[in-house]
């Protein structure tokens, strides 16, 4: 006979526990779940992001209706259990259903605390706890304008942010003199306040709410000091109270919450409690991480497995407000006996404080950059003794600086470090799942390990772990210009090419003992590039190693036709040129003529055999819209016409394009020149960007507007045009000489480091040497279209052989 298991409360803690029971002992129980809300189990945490418009209600469902059916769970949605009869071991719902149990789990969560003040029952006064509250706010925002959130804690601020996104004017009332005082010290809190004010939130600090005013519906909030704030909506987020109503009259021991021991047992046999309604060793938690740990223990207990028992949790919090990174864990205020390591960077808006007591990290607060949080939180949880090494361990690598992407630093994480704080998933567990199950996306990892399934804040970290795990295997191998044909990496191959003076791919593959004698589609183009870069004069271009686009000097489309983009320097053309392009397009029946993102004209859908004739008729140089080469130099109108322009950005752009066109580079290179800091040419998302300022030029590198958007770094400020040319040429050559094939500058600058690049160009002597080498390569370049038109052997490759009849025709 199966035992009858009844769960009261279809929330995050209870269902988590049931999920575990199903995994551990799927056949042991007949399961019944009562949920007062009319929804399947959903992720309460993400209500904040639903409110902020980042997720939909559908996205936050954790287990849909099918899950209950598939697992044979009797699910009574929209029914609250109102009576608990522990003597006869049964529960009764508000709709009159009675269910007997052998084991009963209470997971009724908590209730939002509503201030007991006059008017608190008026229409428009709500809490922020469930889907219904969320929907009320979204509805209200359609009709009303002014919202007051009472409570400047985590929940209040997330509600406020969501309401701002719904276009309401939002004031946050807080009784304390600074926000989130339960998680942050004053310094971090002030920084947070400044940022939120910048986002449009208003704050009424040190205000005690006395009364909600209005007739039927709220119209305002009145404070003890006599002042009044207008409001069409009041959201109370002042705290929660464990929901113990059901346990009250059944002889179950209560304190603040339902009192449980280390195995989540109440004092009544066969009755357990987990989640926010439970109180363990005097603590009733209000976050999910402890609830999951409790659920795990209870699941084991119920399935009869040995386990250690729940020991309590150290919690940490993050604020889920976009554009704000806040972390708080453990103890956060200095007190006698603690010493702190603090970093405060007012330029970057970063503050970090780590508290140490008797050689152990006891807490931390971070604002602006929380990339170290999981490393530090691990120290807090493990209580590792770091006496004498405090600074080196706490400061670690890169603690001071902003590490940009959340993925940074995953390499240095140890396997037992927690990646997903909500669900307690370690890096090791994720890596293992990726390797054993062949996972390739964050979504798959989520499904398989639960990492990032709750608040989602760790997604960038999970993605980082994924990248660095797969990268070690085959996936990025292609990107690095090294492939299955060799174990050598880019630097080793280039070093061999230089030191042994290898000048053909064949030699390289032979001397370095490639395991495929003729290489593959990844190493062949890479070697051709490296050889050309190292020995521009001696290396003979290997067309057969070029990818189709660079061999046919046009961009292949999915149907096998090509696109043709003639060079239009700096995006400046003329009526004659436009007419010519138009005529050519007509003559060859070009199916589509389109402006590119780089200020040029693209003729799409051209047949291969028409290419040479078209080039001939166009009589314009190739725009290299297909190559690993300089693509386009985008310009704004600059001082020629614009009233803001400080320099002639057009001439500068044209000159740069003329200097660097045709150059082979590791990956495509895009440039732009803006005539003033308004930056209409978007120079700061280009590989090389030039922005004119009064009396000079700013030079930016490493930007990208594609897959991984990256704003470029300001590297140099120069005065003269000559200097712009010198720095740009030296930069391009240094990139050519040190990047991996197929590595964009945005990836390269991050791998190599800005300091190294700055150093490589820091004296005139170094720059001149680089410029001399790039000139050597540039001098050899010819226009490829012209070359093909004029060379019969090359040209004939564009023609098909004469068609043949066959007696047995193809079907």
């Amino acid at each position: 006979m199966k035992r009858k298991l009844v769960l009261v409360g279809n929330g995050m803690a209870g269902v988590w526990c049931v999920e575990h029971i199903l995994k551990l002992a799927p056949q042991q129980f007949d399961i019944t779940i009562f949920g007062a809300e009319p929804h399947p189990n959903y992720n309460r945490i993400l209500l904040s992001s639903v409110l902020a418009g980042d997720s939909s209600m559908k996205d936050i469902v954790l287990n849909d209706w099918d899950w209950y059916r598939d697992n044979n769970i009797a699910f009574h949605a929209g029914q609250a259990v109102t009576k608990l009869d522990t003597a006869n071991k049964q529960v009764v719902s508000d709709k009159g259903i009675t269910v007997a149990y052998d084991e009963l789990i209470l997971a009724t969560g908590s209730l939002p605390f509503m201030l007991p003040i006059p008017g608190a029952d008026k229409e428009g006064v709500i809490a922020f706890r469930d889907i219904k509250d969320c929907e009320t706010m979204m509805e209200t925002a359609k009709q009303y304008k002014k919202a007051v959130v009472i409570g400047g804690g985590l929940l209040g601020l997330e509600a406020a942010r969501g309401l701002l996104n719904l276009n309401m004017e939002v004031s946050v009332v807080h009784i304390n003199n600074y926000l989130m005082e339960r998680q942050l010290d004053e310094t971090a809190s002030r920084m947070l306040q400044v940022e939120l004010e910048r986002q449009g939130m208003k704050f009424l600090l040190e205000k005690q709410t006395e009364q909600i005013v209005g007739k039927k519906r709220v119209t305002g909030v009145k404070f003890k000091d006599g002042s009044l704030a207008e409001a069409d909506l009041v959201v109370m987020a002042v705290g929660i109270r464990p929901n113990v109503a059901l346990a009250k009259e059944s002889g179950i021991e209560l304190n603040r919450g339902i009192v449980v021991n280390d195995y989540l047992q109440t004092n009544v046999p066969n009755v357990y409690a987990v989640g926010e309604c439970a109180e363990h060793r005097g603590v009733a938690y209000g976050l999910v991480a402890p609830l999951y740990e409790q659920g795990d223990v209870l699941a084991k207990k119920l399935c009869g497995l040995e386990c250690e028992g729940y020991q309590g949790s150290v919690t940490s919090t993050k604020l889920k407000v976009s554009g704000v990174d806040v972390f708080s864990g453990g103890q956060y205020n200095d007190e006698p006996g603690t010493r702190a390591i603090k970093i405060q960077d007012e330029f970057e808006g970063i503050y970090k404080k780590v508290l140490v007591r008797e050689g152990k990290v006891v807490g931390a607060v971070m604002f602006g950059d929380t990339s170290d949080s999981s490393r530090i939180f691990k120290l807090i949880r493990t209580g590792e003794d770091i006496s004498g090494r405090e600074k080196e361990i706490v400061l670690g690598e890169g603690f001071g600086g902003k590490s940009g992407s959340g993925g940074a630093g995953v390499e240095s994480m140890s396997d037992d470090e927690i990646v997903c704080g909500c669900n307690g998933v370690t890096k090791g567990a994720i890596v293992k799942a990726i390797q054993e199950k062949g996972l390739t996306s964050v979504e798959e990892i989520k499904a398989c390990t639960n990492a990032s399934r709750s608040c989602g804040g760790c997604k960038p970290l999970v993605a980082g772990v994924l990248n660095c795990t797969l990268g070690e295997d085959a996936v990025t191998a292609a990107k690095e210009g090294v492939c299955g044909c060799t174990t050598l990496d880019r630097d080793e191959v280039v070093a061999a090419i230089r030191s042994m003076h290898l000048t053909t791919s064949k030699e390289v593959m032979h001397v370095l003992e490639w395991n495929n004698p003729e290489g593959c589609s990844k190493c062949r183009p890479a070697l051709n590039y490296y050889l050309g870069m190292a020995w521009p004069v001696e290396h003979a271009e290997e067309r057969e190693s070029r990818f189709v686009n660079e061999r046919n000097h046009a961009n292949i489309q999915k149907d096998g036709t090509y696109s043709v983009i003639p060079r239009i320097y700096g995006g400046v053309t003329s009526p004659q040129e436009l007419k010519k392009i138009a005529e050519v397009a007509e003559k060859y029946d070009v199916p589509m003529v389109k402006f590119t993102g780089g200020q040029r004209i693209d003729l799409l859908g051209v047949k291969k055999e028409d290419l040479p004739r078209m080039w001939e008729d166009l009589d314009m140089p190739s725009g290299y819209g297909y190559g690993k080469a300089l693509r386009t130099v985008k310009t704004c109108v600059g001082s020629t016409f614009c009233r803001f322009g400080t320099q002639d950005s057009i001439s500068m752009g044209i000159e740069l394009e003329k200097r660097f066109e045709r150059l082979n580079t590791p990956a495509k290179v895009k440039m732009a020149v803006s005539g003033c800091p308004r930056n209409c040419a978007e120079a700061t998302i280009k590989d090389f960007g030039v922005v004119a300022i009064d009396g000079g030029w700013e030079l930016y590198i490493g930007g990208n507007g594609g897959v991984r958007v990256r704003a470029s770094d300001l590297m140099w400020k120069v005065k003269t045009e000559e200097e712009v040319f010198e720095y740009s040429a030296a930069f391009m050559q240094y990139y050519r000489e040190s990047a991996k094939w197929n590595e964009r500058t945005s990836e390269w600058v991050q791998r190599v480091g800005l300091d190294i690049i700055r150093e490589a160009l820091d004296t005139e002597e170094k720059r001149k040497a680089l410029v001399a080498r790039i000139d050597e390569a540039l001098n050899l370049m010819k226009d490829p279209w012209k070359e093909i038109i004029e060379t019969p052997e090359l040209r004939s490759m564009f023609e098909a052989l004469p068609e043949k009849e066959a007696a047995a025709a193809a079907e």
């Binding site: 057969e544 096998g560 004939s796 098909a800 068609e803 066959a806 193809a810 079907e811």
Partner: protein
């Protein structure tokens, strides 16, 4: 079986290919580094990429569109991808004329 003259060996550079339409089917004739010729239908089983534009490595060609690797001897797509392209036998005479051996049966292969 028909023996159809399609090209001169000198018209095809090493590690490159030329295309010819025979009886309505587009065929790519490749020259390997050894000088040997291979003929296959010029259509990738994945999404019809023109194999003639691929990079040739020994007797394999990599499709230019999504990098499938195809063995030109038996027409088989290499793992992890799957599929097959039609292959044809070719002969070269002393004068360097290239003949395609066109068989009804070979089309259903």
């Amino acid at each position: 079986m028909e023996r159809i003259m399609v090209a001169r060996a000198s018209e095809i550079p090493a590690l490159r290919s030329r295309t010819v339409t025979v009886g309505g089917m587009e065929i790519a004739i490749f020259k390997l580094s050894s000088g040997e010729l291979r003929a296959i239908e010029n259509r990738c089983p994945h999404k019809n990429g023109k194999l003639s534009e691929g990079i040739v490595c020994d007797h394999h060609v990599f499709c230019p569109l999504h990098d499938w690797k195809i063995n030109m001897k038996d027409g088989l797509v290499q793992a992890p991808d799957e599929g097959c392209v039609t292959t044809f036998s070719v002969e070269v005479d002393e004068e360097g004329k290239v003949y395609l051996l066109w068989e009804k049966g070979s089309l259903s292969a």
